[in-house]
Amino acid sequence: MTDEYEHFEAVVVGAGPGGAAAAATLAEQGVETLVLERGVDAGSKNVSGGLIYAEKSASYTIDSVFDGFREEASERPVSEYYIHNLAGGKVKTLDLSTIHHHDTEWCDAVLRRKMDSWLAERVHEKCSETGGGLLTDVRVNGLLREDGDIVGVTCDEIDPIRADVILAADGVNSELAREAGLMDWDDPDEWFQGVKAVVDMDPDAIDERFGVDPDDGVAHLFSGDLFEGVRGGGFLYTNEDSLSIGTVFHLDSLAERRAEPHELLDALLTHPLLDRWLDGEYEEREYAAKLVPDSKKAANPSPHRGRLLLVGDAAGQMQAQGPIIKGMNHAVTAGGLAAEAFIEARTRGDTDVAGDLYERKLVDEGVMAKLRPRRYRMTRRLSENRLATKVAGCLVDSLLGRTGMKLLDGVVERAFNSPFLLGMVPDTRTSYVTVPRVLGETLGERIEAENDIEPPDLADRIGGLTYDVGDPHIELLDESHEASGTAVTACPVSAEDFGGGCYRSETVERNGDTRQVVSLDTQPCVECGTCAVVADTHWEHPAGGNGVEFRDG
């Protein structure tokens, strides 16, 4: 039966940076390649902070695969990089340019809609020449199997497609990776949640307020006491005529503390420190959110099964190097390597070995070492155990720690700038909250400004997004508060006491018995993936062309 289906040499699922790099590399070697993307336009579903890095050590970078990328698809180059440690109205700013420039050929800020749709055009051109192309509005909903073997993909909108290789570059919450048993969505501590606002700002105002040249930009990172003890931090990147301001938190911490992501974002936006750039003006263009895998825990060292190869976020290849977030660049490298692996396997006349070759390349090219540093694996057990955290926290908090810190001024900056030390930083409150707070308190300067901007409320944020709603794509399996209540707070478009969100707390009475439950309406969903992990749901992406459509991303 399945012979009747259309066949391509390669099918690439997803047109983010990973899929685009893979498809372009395949097509350039004459591999007949079909790319399937569920958005109405490539990029319409995607969110990054986002700084895209070209690493010197990487075998593929976005501009090595796509000529003219920097001129056409990115915003400003980012040449300066600061972190602000905040505590009780004080700030201690460290210059992290050294770590930022470490192994960095260049680094640009990007907005994903513009970037991905530009990439998609190139990809389509290249793939068309091989007899393939890029199709938008198509959601892949599963793997096509024959006698249990993966032989292709099935889609909501079009007939199943057979292929010699399937590159799943379908991002975080990859349904294909889950179906193949290569990734699961069970453990909140393997994920971050990123939330971001794109803020309108005149290019001249950016130049002036940030002290940058018209064709230059800067990154500011934030940590300390402004996030109610939730582990994570904030970022601000300069685009051509807008700012990307957002937060990235450990999902387990967010869930545990019942924090409201939009409130944490607002805490950053309204922090007095930001007044020096916002200057009392705030025009939010877009509110967006997405899960981010933590490669240290989630990256699958063997991301393939049969003809299926996972690339980028789908394989958990998203590296958080202290405050530096590197996902897009690794997706590009992995995409290139996966393509290379298939081409090599084809030359050998045995396309079935593509997966093994890919796995080996990830190691040989040093990608795996960046994603899952040995140092981290070693220190983790020690310092993430609660007692150790407590002790370390006390230590830092103690007079001794503080005095030490004072003495260390300068050394701290150097320590933050060491990739070696950053790779070791354990994911505890000590490193995210306590150290920065103490830094701020002990070494910080007082912030005098007042920031009275008013970010839009959730209802307005939802109202500002574009949706093409279709059938509900998330099914709530257990509506009890115990099983799914966390989603009410953790969902970036829901909140306690807000009736307009996806998840809402409700009290129901039956036969005199009162229960706390949650209800779900997927219409305002931004498809971030959070509730797939923190609630008891059956979670899928909406059908092609349906759901939220980001204009900036």
Binding site: A459, G499, G500, E506, V508, E509, V518, S519, L520, Q523
Partner: protein
């Protein structure tokens, strides 16, 4: 010599080739060759058309004023190609005679004048069947005996397919019968005829409905009953309808096919109408909302057979249909061609387009059973399962909409009851809901649960309503809700929150608990005193 001598080729070959020639001189030469040879008109036209396209400068020179002595013969030939006015040509001819008096120029102008005059004298297009005209194409309808076959056939009567559901006529069937009656009465009077309205019933146990068809306007009813026809199925329904009106012979049906056919534009009716009209080798105007019978002046030569002539076609059913936007209408006519009839003139009719007529219990007419055997192979598709959809809720037609939101959350059932009680006070009112209520996990008692459906949702992804009065209780006024109701004449909002969003677009804002305000509102309205409620609330 041009690359291609047209006289060596037949027309079918020349068409595509000439399209590729861009050289004017070459085309001129080809034209000369053809005119010197057989001078086949279509070939000449083909080359001339191409010349005109290539030269592209047929405007700009006004034939009435141009200095002919400055023009070459080719210029003149090009120029007059675009002139259809004999007088202008006469003038050009005169000036040429007074000027250079070239034979080649004069003959061209004279020929053009002759052509035009000839056309005026009814130069009927010679008919050749499509197989002859386009031998290079395949002709899939060749074996359809009726396609090119029927010319000047005899057509009478208006046949109306009366759809039934659960053993009853659906409203649009009644609407069509009423309209058909009206149309045929007018028709018979205008043309002094006595053609009839024929109702068609197909199904299981439909004979009982024949009387009703007569009451709503049919003169005759033809029915076919079979238990296998209890649900609509494409093959047997199509075959039966076509057989009844084309092949079957009770004495009165002595014509070829019906003059007019009407079908309902329902799901089944749309399918059937297309299949039947296709089988009867005619066209279909689908989804019509207006019908009238009138003469039509038509100048399309495909219909008149004579270019430049306009002809009046009598007894044409004018079928009006909205375009896809719903803002504009097209009127569709289905008219015979010289060598092919297009009958029946058929339409499918949007339900609700016409009034249901008064039933006339006294009406008389004839009822016929179409009693033929139905071959088993027509039934090879089996209906294994079906579902009955609920009647839709249409909030739009109401004077008053009482809408409830998540403010009912504390006691959802009670809230619904209070809303429904208020609805009952008004004559034309119904209950609307915010999406927030529909997607909630509230547990409603069964007597109100049936109301909690998406069909009652007001807003962006629900219905848009503009009643005279919109009462929003416990609704915050999210933008997606607002777009569904803010055109209402008067908006009254009841909300515990003193500055809920909805306040901005309400005419009256009652700050209060809906569980208290709604019953007082209901009571006051029963007593006819709205003002007391408002006053009462203010006192609190």
């Amino acid at each position: 010599m041009p690359e291609m001598d047209p006289t060596d080729h037949d027309i079918a070959e020349l068409g595509p080739k000439i399209k590729d020639i861009d050289d004017e001189a070459e085309l001129e030469e080809m034209l000369a060759l053809e005119e010197g040879g057989e001078g086949r008109d279509p070939v000449v036209t083909l080359i001339e058309d191409r010349l005109q396209k290539v030269s592209g400068d047929d405007e700009g020179s006004d034939p009435a004023s141009i200095d002919l002595t400055e023009s070459t013969i080719a210029d003149i030939a090009n120029m007059i190609r675009g002139i259809d006015d004999v007088e202008v040509l006469q003038d050009v001819l005169e000036r040429e005679k007074e000027g250079k008096n070239r034979k080649g120029a004069k003959s061209r102008i004279e020929k053009k004048i002759d052509d035009l005059q000839e056309n005026d004298e009814e130069a009927e297009i010679e008919y050749a069947p499509p197989e002859e005209r386009y031998p290079e194409l395949d002709h899939p309808t060749n074996d359809k005996q009726y396609v090119e076959g029927t010319v000047d056939g005899e057509y009478r009567d208006m046949w109306v397919y009366c759809e039934t559901q659960q053993g009853a006529l659906i409203d649009v069937s009644r609407e069509m019968l009423g309209k058909a009656r009206e149309l045929m009465d007018g028709y018979n009077e205008a043309y002094d005829e006595s053609e009839t309205v024929v109702a068609v019933l197909v199904g299981d146990e439909v004979a009982d409905l024949a009387e009703e068809c007569l009451a709503y306007g049919a003169d005759r009813v033809v029915y076919h009953e079979d238990e296998r026809l209890d649900r609509f199925r494409h093959k047997p329904y199509t075959e039966i309808f076509c057989h009844m009106c084309r092949d079957w012979g009770p004495g009165w049906r002595d014509y070829h096919e019906p003059r007019y056919t009407l079908f309902p534009a329902t799901n089944n009716g749309r399918d059937l109408s297309a299949l039947v009209q296709g089988e009867l080798d005619s066209g279909l105007a689908s989804d019509c909302s207006g019908l009238y019978i009138e003469a039509a002046d038509i100048s399309n030569p495909a219909k008149t057979g004579t270019p430049g002539e306009s002809r009046t076609f009598e007894r044409v059913l004018h079928m009006k249909r909205p375009d896809f936007s719903g803002f504009e209408y097209s009127t569709i006519l289905c008219i015979d061609k010289p060598h092919r009839d297009f009958h029946p003139q058929g339409a499918s009719v949007i339900p609700g387009s016409f009034e249901i007529p008064e039933a006339d219990a006294e009406a008389e007419g004839e009822v016929f059973e179409h009693d033929t055997d139905l071959p088993e192979e027509w039934f090879h598709i089996e209906v294994t399962d079906y579902d009955q959809l609920e009647d839709g809720v249409d909030l739009a037609g109401n004077e008053v909409v009482v809408a409830l939101g998540r403010g009912i959350g504390e006691q959802p059932t009670k809230g619904m009851e209070l809303g429904l009680e208020l609805v009952d006070v008004f004559e034309e009112a119904d209950l609307g809901l915010s999406r927030g209520v529909i997607t909630a996990s509230y547990e409603f008692d069964t007597h109100v649960e049936e109301y909690v459906t998406e069909e009652r949702q007001v807003g962006e992804s629900g219905q848009v309503v503009e009643p005279e009065l919109y009462i929003a209780a416990g609704i915050s006024g999210a933008i997606q809700h607002k777009v569904g109701m803010d055109e209402s004449d008067t908006i009254v909002a009841i909300n515990t929150d003193p500055d809920a969003e909805i306040r901005d677009f309400s005419d009256y804002y009652i700050e209060g608990d809906l569980f208290e305000v709604l019953p007082r509102l209901t009571e006051a309205l029963k007593e006819g005193e709205l003002s007391r409620v408002v006053a009462g609330v203010d006192d609190d």
